[in-house]
Symmetry: C2
Subunit: 237 residues, 2 copies
């Protein structure tokens, strides 16, 4: 089965991808051009592109084209250092857009925090970019009692955690993280400018203070090949 033609195409494309300068603006030729060049149909060519997408080497922007993927971002979700900090530290350019702030009940957040399902929570939805590529769609819910007035004044473009620490004196003492691989749903796909069903990685995080009182909960939807999650642990848990 290793002699499928689309696998030959992935081999040849992989070879070409080793020289990133071969593609202007990191953009691949159109599917029709590639299909003709390799003397095959778009269906087969797309199978090869899908394979390389799964490997994390290329990605697509909805109806715009295929692009060479940059190296994955290293991301340590156990730290509350800001997105801007670690993106910059890796020589990349961060940007954040606030899409929405409101007050809403969100049962999954409430459950993770041990609250009643209909508890109203501050809600902030953001979209984050690395080198002007949208890689992360994030929703954060904060317990209002822990950060009264947060929505009125917060600079959400910067680190929300820094805000919680600095302005409200909160200590993030206890964290429960879950991550899993799941394709992107309609909303996240739209916000990230990719086709629905594109591969994604989800991070959910519940945070508590020293007295184990709930602080907040967030859900992050990443483009699957944009990141590598890194965790370093001393001692046994």
């Amino acid at each position: 089965m290793s002699d499928a033609y689309y696998l030959h195409l992935t081999d040849r494309l992989r070879e070409q991808l080793k020289d990133p300068d071969a593609f202007e603006d990191g953009r691949l030729p159109s599917e029709r051009v590639l299909a003709e060049r390799f003397d095959t149909t778009r269906v087969t060519l797309r199978q090869a592109l899908g394979q390389l997408e799964g490997e994390g080497r290329i990605h697509r922007s909805n109806r715009r084209g295929w692009f060479v993927s940059p190296p994955r971002l290293d991301y340590d979700p156990t730290r509350d250092s800001g997105f801007n900090d670690y993106v910059t530290a890796q020589g990349r350019r961060p940007r954040t857009e606030v899409l929405l702030t409101d007050v809403q009940a969100y049962p999954p957040a409430a459950q993770a925090l041990g609250l009643a399902a209909q508890t109203p929570l501050y809600h902030i939805r953001r979209r984050r970019f690395v080198d002007e590529r949208a890689v992360l769609s994030e929703s954060m819910w904060v317990v209002p009692e822990r950060a009264p007035g947060l929505l009125e004044e917060g600079q959400f473009g910067v680190s929300l955690w820094a805000e919680l620490r600095g302005r409200y004196g909160l200590t993030l003492a206890h964290r429960e993280l879950r991550f899993y691989s799941e394709s992107l749903g309609e909303q996240a796909a739209r916000e990230l400018g990719v086709a629905m069903g594109s591969p994604g990685l989800t991070v959910r995080r519940a945070t508590f203070d020293e007295q184990h009182r709930p602080i907040g909960y967030d859900e992050e939807r990443w483009l699957h090949n944009a990141l590598c999650i890194t965790v370093t642990l001393k001692n046994k848990p």
Copy 2:
């Protein structure tokens, strides 16, 4: 774009999947049958199946068919409790096969452990099952000085970490973990009985003792929808 026909198919199939008893042995009807039932072609039907696969609801076994996926396994890679233990604790049935043991140099392992690239290491390759579904293909490299004679006597079907702790008195004090989403390569796909390019999740882990001497390194390739990685942290790192 939300009115694509394959999305209607996913909706209808999702509905049917809510009643698992509707499928004998958790097996879906064949692609040809489903395509006819929904009055479409196999190409479109497969697009719908691929979508549900990405969502983690169904999975395929190479050339055997499509199956309803069981709930994800919760997995905490920061603990060295054995696979058998946490699978059993979740009411599932674990099984392990040893595929290979040998001595080899593996530069990525050596690099992660801070050793010379060509350092010979004990190597153990295993395949692990949950409820008789192969979900994990794993390679482990151990520094020979830390566990002399490991390959001669080890019971690799049980916990390798328990072996290292019990027989060699090793303390796993420091761990460096990396995980990322990446489609399965040829070897892992074959071992897991899925098509090459199927979505996967990779976990890499380097382990050190209290003196920060390297103990071992392992690479795990999971079926992407078989697990949810869970990490709980007290205090700030």
